[in-house]
Amino acid sequence: MNFLSLFVLLPLLMILALFLARNRKQVLGIMVTGSTLLVVLSAYLAYLYTAARGNGATDPMLFTASLSWFKPLNIRYAVGVDGVSVVMLCLTSLIVFTGTFVSWKMAPLTKEFFLWYCLLATGVFGFFITIDLFAMFLFYETALIPMYLLIGVWGTGRKEYSAMKLTLMLMGSSMILLVGILGIYFSSGATSMNILDIVRTPIPLEQQYLFFTLTFFGFGVLGALFPFHSWSPDGHASAPTAVSMLHAGVLMKLGGYGCFRVAISLMPEAAAQLSPLFLVLTAIGVVYGAFAAIRQTDLKYINAYSSVSHCNLVLFAILMLTQTALTGAVLQMLSHGLITALFFALIGMIYGRTHTRLITEMGGLMKIMPFLGVSFVIAGLANIGVPGLSGFVAEMTIFVGAFENNGLLHRILTIAAVTSIVIGAVYILRTIGKFLYGPLQNPEHTKLGDARWYERLAVIMLIAGIVYLGSFPTGISDMINDSFGNLLQAVKN
């Protein structure tokens, strides 16, 4: 048992503590303490990781440990991290932390809400720390189930429909994923389901074709792969704020991370061969999501389609199979996680005041809630890739990386994807112009207040993350960059 398991234990302890909590104050106390500890833990991990790499540790995964879990099938609870997982863990803990503050006034059933919220966090953290295929799958499923309840019980609008659709589509894809994972295990002939073992025993190419498709598709659906993204706009729109944040910010990243960790890393040869097919889908998704966002009038739908566009960009970058593009993909996951969490947080706060999310029913809110307005503008600018904010770093790394792949199809698709920076500007500026700027539309809105302290704290934390990543990307980018050596060697061969 090494300290990485704390990432799973801590949320589980929080769940236990929540069972015992008697009132709202205690619930919030537990949540704040626990999520703060998680943030500290992930910062400490990042520090340890950089220090270890600095001291010349060259293993693909650091801090590994392995525990037999189910002997007959060689399922082990194996943990370990590389640069990619470290940044994803940092992102997750930050969003769990801010999500807690955003749900400060959560009612009814506060305790139960946070219970499921912690279980969701457990699944996500577990997914990022394990390097055993089956344990990964298990944590993935752990993260899905609470989603259903969180949306179905605490959501808004057509919540039952959305929750059902989301769960069924993701369950369906995870069924395909399971087949893929088992296929990988059995065709590789490895002695365990540990990724590090499977990498050492290459999978025959004929099997790779099938299982690459299955696993990429399985994880891709969670990463909003076009045209299997339709669970995400409805899901996001119906979910309560903190869940939207965690969902779009982290859970969708599970898809991209899984595609990278399982589909691409274990079967690079098949990936190189089959990537054009999926590239076309993702490139369509990038442009399509952006165009679809232009027509929306509901703030959450706008951001949801924007997420579809950006998450497809992640998959697009992963499929480009160059070091820079992969770095860009991870940066984009990180950046989009922060930006979209900020967006959903702000949308939730604004909705909590105006009780509408339709931009046609709002106007001139900047004057009334300057803090939220300015933060929204910052989020918008980050989303369209303004330098100094995280979106720029991620997108540019992706585009430069995508251009390293010099197939003609890759070029054309890259240029198609680049157009999204313009379309993105259109829908973001349109949104901002409609509901923040201009004259006040609803005189009732003058009575509304600006952000409270707990809201400000969450928003400022996220903005700080966005600015840090956008202004000082070197450290993070290097940390991610270290993790692709072996993989790219395999692609070249």
Binding site: K165, S230, R295, K367, G388, E404, L429, G433, P439
Partner: protein
């Protein structure tokens, strides 16, 4: 010269400070902080210029200096984005231009924006803009330039939309950002192509004339042109977007919705010439490796300058006139770059372009600030609301006149010298182009004096608010200062400092061309005076053909309408709505269809589960018999 780093850091610090504290500071403090910081930056810039031009010359050639350069973001094995400072003649020249105009605008705004809500925000944005623009000109590599290129775009967006409760301002800021973003997309693709084949972003490497670097880019062709031609053409599209070249000029006139000092700073003197600066920066690549693109640049510039000048003749909003005038003048600069060669006398165009950039920045800023002063007094942008103001606003009147004479190209004002060099360069290249540009110069003189006479002469209007009066000292000081620069700027031996090959070049005036252009200008001024000085006079009716043309020009030749048609009708209503519909009905419909098929099937199947125990038993028996039969017979 590491202290140049402060030129970047000071405005950034000022932006962060003013931005974070915004409402906690009172108006006066924030204004003083912003202006004070800029004064410091200006002093530093001037010192840096003096220092650079006196010390960094080796063998008659100015050397590039990299006082500061750090890697910022690695991109693969060889590519990396650096952030740094590059000092060479054009960047140092731009430092002087930007800091001077920016300082004047800061001082001017103390008076102009007095009492406006969001005064602190305004100064914060001004600082942000100054930072970004300085970063842009000091860039050591093309990607750094792209970074700051985007940042100036954002600051421009924020400043145009400063009056965010006004729908026109919001729409204008949106339009400006999206149109330039559209152009930036091509710029980005150009950078990607260029950097892929050369494996460097660095200006030093790109402009060193190293043929081996471009070997690959030149050898690979796509649709009949080499990759390098594509890259450089795409980069020029980016430049054309920022510099408002036809057909990407549509955002600039609308950008006049911003506060007037902002128009003076961003949309006249500094940001809009970024495109010219970019072409000048990459000039060695253009002129040696892709002369065909350079030729294209010349024709785009020539067409734009004529196009914008014609529109400027009939606009009635004084800021719009100045906006189109800016487009036209930038066209001049582009033409000059386009016709230039690299070395010696052939490099005249490059020098002329930079010279014109310098003088234009000063007199156009002056024109805008003067216009701002008038608007401040009259509370309107419309020419018809003005007239006879020369008695009420003597300082504004005289400084404005100096600027008008400068732009019209009357000696000894600065515009004469720079424009004359441009005309000389175009004649050198191609007589037809020379005549075309001379004609444009005539139009320039006409429209600017139409403006001048309509504002300061003619019948005095009855002013609704109060009798117009001269602006406060904070506003007139920048006018006087800039007028002084305009008066004397032409005598700067510009060729000694900025040339294409960086060795000294002595300016001499080609008197034949000069006399022709002066005659044309004076003629044009005379006509303008005849028509607009005393508007009571009966004007000859225009022929109907010309009237149609006139109307088209007033509507800016319907370019905006075409754009509107394409974006609104085709992109938003066509593609976007189709996509949204597709998503709701096909993609979602498929999923929902799947769900309803499942539901339908289960409704059908559940009939079997009738609850009749005897029926179940019967089926059970049949099943048993069947299995028995199977075992028996197979």
């Amino acid at each position: 010269m590491e202290y140049t780093l402060l030129i970047l850091l000071l405005p950034l610090a000022s932006f962060v400070l003013l931005g974070l504290l915004s409402n906690r500071l009172n108006h006066k403090t924030s204004g003083v902080v912003g202006t004070g910081v800029l004064l410091l930056v200006t002093l530093l810039s001037f010192y840096a210029a003096w220092n650079y031009f006196t010390t960094q010359k080796a063998g008659g050639v100015f050397q590039s200096l990299l006082p500061f350069n750090i890697p910022w973001l690695g991109m693969g094995p060889q590519l990396h984005i650096d952030l740094g400072i590059l000092l060479d003649p054009i960047s140092v020249m731009m430092l002087v231009v930007i800091s001077t105009v920016s300082l004047m605008v800061h001082i001017y705004s103390l008076g102009y924006m007095k009492g406006e809500k969001g005064f602190q925000r305004y100064y914060a944005f001004l600082s942000l803009f100054t930072f970004s623009m300085m970063g842009l000109v000091l860039s050591t590599n093309i990607f750094q330039m792209y970074i700051f290129w985007e940042l100036v775009g954002v600051s421009s967006y924020l400043l145009i939309g400063f009056y965010y409760t006004k729908p026109e301002a919001v729409a204008a800021s949106k339009k400006a950002f999206i149109v330039t973003r559209f152009a930036d997309m091509f710029f980005l693709i150009g950078i990607l192509v260029l950097s892929y084949y050369t494996q460097t972003f660095d200006f030093g490497a790109l402009t060193s004339g190293n043929t081996a670097l471009f070997q690959q880019a030149l050898s690979i062709t796509f649709m009949g042109a080499s990759a390098l031609v594509w890259a450089m053409a795409l980069i020029f599209i980016g430049a054309a977007g920022k510099s408002a070249m036809f057909p990407l000029h549509i955002w600039l006139p609308d950008a006049m919705e911003g506060p007037t000092p902002v128009s003076a700073l961003i949309h006249a003197a500094t940001m809009v010439v970024a495109g010219v600066y970019l072409v000048a920066r990459l000039f060695p690549v253009y002129v040696v490796f892709t002369p065909e693109v350079l030729e294209g640049i010349a024709y785009v510039g020539a067409f734009t300058s004529m196009f914008a000048a014609v529109i400027a003749m009939v606009q009635t909003d004084i800021k719009r006139v100045l906006a189109f005038s800016t487009i036209s003048q930038i066209g001049f600069m582009m033409v000059a770059l386009g016709v230039s060669k690299f070395e010696g006398h052939g490099g005249l165009g490059y020098m002329a372009s930079m010279f014109h950039l310098f003088t234009h920045a000063m007199f156009k800023a002056l024109l805008f600030l003067g216009a701002g002063s008038v608007i401040h007094a009259v509370h309107s942008n419309e020419m018809s609301k003005m007239g006879g103001l020369r008695k009420h606003m003597p300082v504004t009147h005289w400084t404005f006149l100096i600027a008008c004479l400068a732009i019209a190209g009357i000696p000894p004002f600065s515009g004469f010298f720079s424009k004359d060099e441009i005309l000389a360069a175009t004649y050198q290249y191609n007589t037809g182009l020379g005549i075309w540009m001379t004609f444009v110069a005539g139009l320039t003189a006409f429209y600017i004096f139409r403006l001048y006479f309509s504002i300061f002469w003619g019948k005095e209007n009855r002013y609704e608010h109060h009798t117009p009066h001269e602006s406060p000292r904070t506003m007139t000081f920048p006018l006087i200062f800039l007028a002084a620069v305009t008066l004397l700027g032409g005598f700067i031996p510009f060729g000694n400092f900025v040339t294409a090959d960086r060795s000294e070049y002595t300016i001499h005036i080609d008197w034949l061309i000069a006399v022709i252009s002066i005659v044309v200008a004076v003629e044009a001024i005379f006509i303008a005076g005849m028509r607009y000085q005393y508007p009571g006079r009966r004007l000859k009716k225009m022929p109907s053909l010309l009237q149609g043309f006139n109307r088209a020009a007033q509507h800016r030749f319907y370019v905006d309408e075409i754009y509107l048609f394409v974006t609104k009708k085709i992109l938003f209503n066509g593609i976007s709505r189709a996509f949204a519909w597709f998503d709701r009905h096909v993609v979602d419909g498929f999923i929902n269809g799947l769900a309803s098929v499942t539901g339908w099937v289960s409704v059908k199947i559940r009939g079997l589960q009738s609850g009749e125990i005897q029926w179940y038993a019967f089926v059970f028996l049949l099943g048993t018999l069947l299995i028995t039969a199977l075992f028996l017979f197979i």
